[in-house]
């Protein structure tokens, strides 16, 4: 009988402590969700550390941004939201906002004005793509190539990806239709402004797949942003696509013989959302954090650690030198005029509708 009592008591204790743990979000702690790696490190240095010091809160990093929508949905269904601030790409923010999982923000009253006196809504401008989204950086998906493996004529056009005659060897592309389909059409002679109209038709999709078919045997498909840098560094591929910050780190920090191919880079945005369903105190603190972390100076600070463009117009003049390398960061930003000569505008709306459909086709095409 004594054993039973002990067991009962201990299991009761375990249950009590787990439930205490579950909502034991202490007042002095907040959980911030992001992407991990060099990106989280730049946020830690530019935002988390100064904020912790200023507000006296401990910031817990969670690296779940890739599954943010799925997890927020599950948390919402369970009625227990454990995240305070979440870093997501724009398309995910739009989805979360539409489903009421993210808090709507009024940029002018809830975010800091720009250092140049402009209102937040003007300072962020078109980048406020959703009512819930607080833009942080502009990044781009672009290609890099091994300077020692491409001969005397380094590629200048994105179509080099499809040109296996001039640039033989493997290339790495992302294992999803987004970007690849657009580039395939662009390199098959479709005008930039017609890409999505063409892609909407069955014939257009077939055309894109046919173009991809021409290089299918020479492609390594990646699913993590770190894959292409590794493949380039090992000489496994002659060129490959990834996020521009990853290529910057590879070229400037790791000094690999790799060149940037900015042509037809696809811009995307990354920023914060605050989940709905937080207690008033946590919500107020999350808002306070976001207001601090997206002011002009803080956004410019982040660019010291990673080559992503700050989302505020007023931050651009403040972008300085890399924190450890001491090189000028402005010319490594995807938004720098020299790099942004030919860019491609990614259509969120279009992909929201066609993603499931095209993804099924893309995966079927891959496994054929």
């Amino acid at each position: 009988m004594k054993l039973t009592t002990t067991l009962m008591a201990s299991s009761a204790l375990v249950m009590a402590s787990t439930s205490a743990f579950a909502d034991g979000h202490m007042a002095s702690e907040m959980t911030i969700v992001s992407w991990g790696g060099a990106y989280s490190a730049s946020q830690q240095a530019a935002y988390h550390d100064p904020y912790s010091e200023m507000a006296g809160v401990t910031i817990i990093n969670d690296e779940s941004s890739a599954e943010a929508v799925a997890k927020l949905r599950a948390m919402n269904e369970a009625g227990n939201v454990t995240w305070d601030v979440v870093d997501v790409v724009a398309s995910d923010a739009i989805r979360l906002c539409d489903e009421g999982l993210a808090l709507e923000i009024d940029a002018d009253t809830q975010l800091a004005d720009g250092d140049d006196g402009s209102k937040a809504s003007d300072d962020f401008g078109d980048l406020l793509v959703s009512d819930c989204f607080i833009p942080q950086i502009v990044y781009s998906t672009t290609a890099g190539y091994r300077t020692d493996l491409v001969g005397d004529t380094p590629p200048t056009s994105i179509c080099a990806l499809f040109d296996t005659d001039t640039y033989p060897g493997m290339r790495s592309l992302e294992k999803r239709p987004i970007n690849n389909m657009e580039w395939a059409l662009l390199c098959d002679g479709v005008a930039k402004e017609d890409v999505y109209d063409v892609l909407e038709t069955k014939e257009g999709q077939a055309q894109a797949f046919a173009k991809l078919d021409t290089i299918k045997d020479s492609v390594v498909w990646w699913s993590a942003g770190a894959d292409t840098p590794q493949l380039l560094a090992d000489g496994e591929v002659v060129m490959g696509t990834t996020y521009n910050g990853r290529l910057f780190a590879l070229i400037e920090e790791q000094k690999q013989p790799v060149g940037m191919l900015w042509d037809a880079q696809v811009f995307d945005l990354d920023g914060w959302i605050i989940p709905t369903g937080l207690s008033p105190e946590r919500e107020a603190r999350a808002l306070d954090y976001v207001k601090f972390a997206t002011d002009t100076q803080r956004l410019a600070d982040q660019a010291k650690y990673i080559s992503y463009g700050p989302a505020r117009a007023s931050s651009a003049p403040l972008v300085g030198k890399h924190a450890t390398l001491g090189i000028d960061m402005a010319q490594h930003m995807p938004t720098d005029p020299e790099n942004a000569k030919n860019t491609f505008l990614y259509n969120y709306e279009w992909w929201a509708d066609y993603r499931d459909d095209l993804d099924a086709k893309f995966q079927a095409w891959l496994s054929q």
Partner: protein
Amino acid sequence: MTDTAQSGPVLAADGRPLKASLNRALRRQKMRAMLLIAPLLFFILITFVVPIGQMLFRSVENQIVSDTLPRTTQMLGDWDASTGAAPDTPVFAALTKDLMVAVEKKQHTRLGSRLNYETTGVSSLFRKTGRKVDDMGEGYTDQFVDLDPKWEDPVFWADLMADPAASALPMTQDAYAAFADTIISEDGDDPREEQPWHTVYLSLYQDLSAGADVGSLPAEVATAQTAAVTFQTEDLIAAFADIDEDWLSVDTWQTIQTYSPAFTNGYFLNAVDRQKTPDGSEWRPEDQQIYLTLFVRTMIMSLTITFSCILLGYPVAWLLANLPMRQANLLMILVLLPFWTSLLVRTSAWKVLLQQQGVINEIVVWLGLVADDNRLALINNATGTVIAMTHILLPFMILPLYSVMKTIPPSYLRAAKSLGATNWTAFWRVYFPQSVPGIGAGSILVFILSIGYYITPEIVGGTKGVFISNRIAYHISSSLNWGLAAALGAILLVVVLLLYWAYDRIVGIDNVKLGG
């Protein structure tokens, strides 16, 4: 025994019947046993059975359509898609009312995504319409208010709807209740301070035109009924078509109608490359068929991995069981070492070894076995998956084999040989049959683990070496098509149970041993 028959039941020391007393003691013992396992039982129920059950339930669950569009799905019941024409105005009126509530509660985009799994374009259709639906029916609101400014007064509305006689206006009551509910739950406002939505006026117009008996309601209603005859009607169909032509398409409505029931087999059909049609199901277009291929590939590759594990593991286990203690212990540590290394580290190490500029290729090129421009493709394909997973799962084969082999007395082999058997006969006829339970246990472990693996195939599998579990993970965390993920998972579970059953019939589950 005869005693008992004569003097009634046998009594225990305390005077109760022995049978009852015994039962009581037994019951208490059972209770105690139950209490002892209760924490574990609870734990398993809460963390294992309930979540899996819930997840599997999602594969047939489809309430979202009828929950979000209750009025529309009801009205659509009578619509016949084969006429080739989109439904009539009442259906569009019902849709307006449903969407108004859904938009306020932010549920319409979720329904859009749900239906977009079936028909591409529905997602944007709901999104676009959601932005404009709050203007629909405005014409009626204006006409009612022009008639009598009282119709603008929230308090007048609240009182009117609280009137027991308001049941004469069923649609209005329904629309008003939806409005009041949403205002309270979403915005925390008081319906007595907010003017009703246009959909309430639309419903009132519908009720009044249908000839509702408003005799016992305030005079304003009767006046409105007389006036309503002359009201200019608003063309809802045109308004929807104006937002998007797709509202006139039979396909859109057919999708809503087909997926109206609370439960659907649509996800399961999708999981076997078929799609739901009004009269049953049909194959998906060939360029979208992937799941059957993936299921078959998962099975074949898991079997390959299991066999490779048997081939590689059997000799190692034999050595382990037969070497002197010291060497055996050292070998055992080598077998167990991978368990102490992170799975990701091991998989990434294979990447370094197997890639085209990797260690193995460098060696074979250096040895001159293959040409430099014709290096072996060992990774990002099925070969890579088989190699890496065989390595990762090998200990699960070796350990059960070892523990079974350990119990086979060496004297049997000696006896066989002394009776004239060759080495091979002694092994094949005497030793091997005794080690089969170990092979069985190891195979089941390895096979079941491998069909559920997804990290390793994702990293080294490329496109030809990924499993069905990779698609399940994709639908759970990226496309958020949880219903399809659940259906795929359920099918996988059934396949495993079937294989287990087959194994039991062929080999016999009693023949499986994890240890002596």
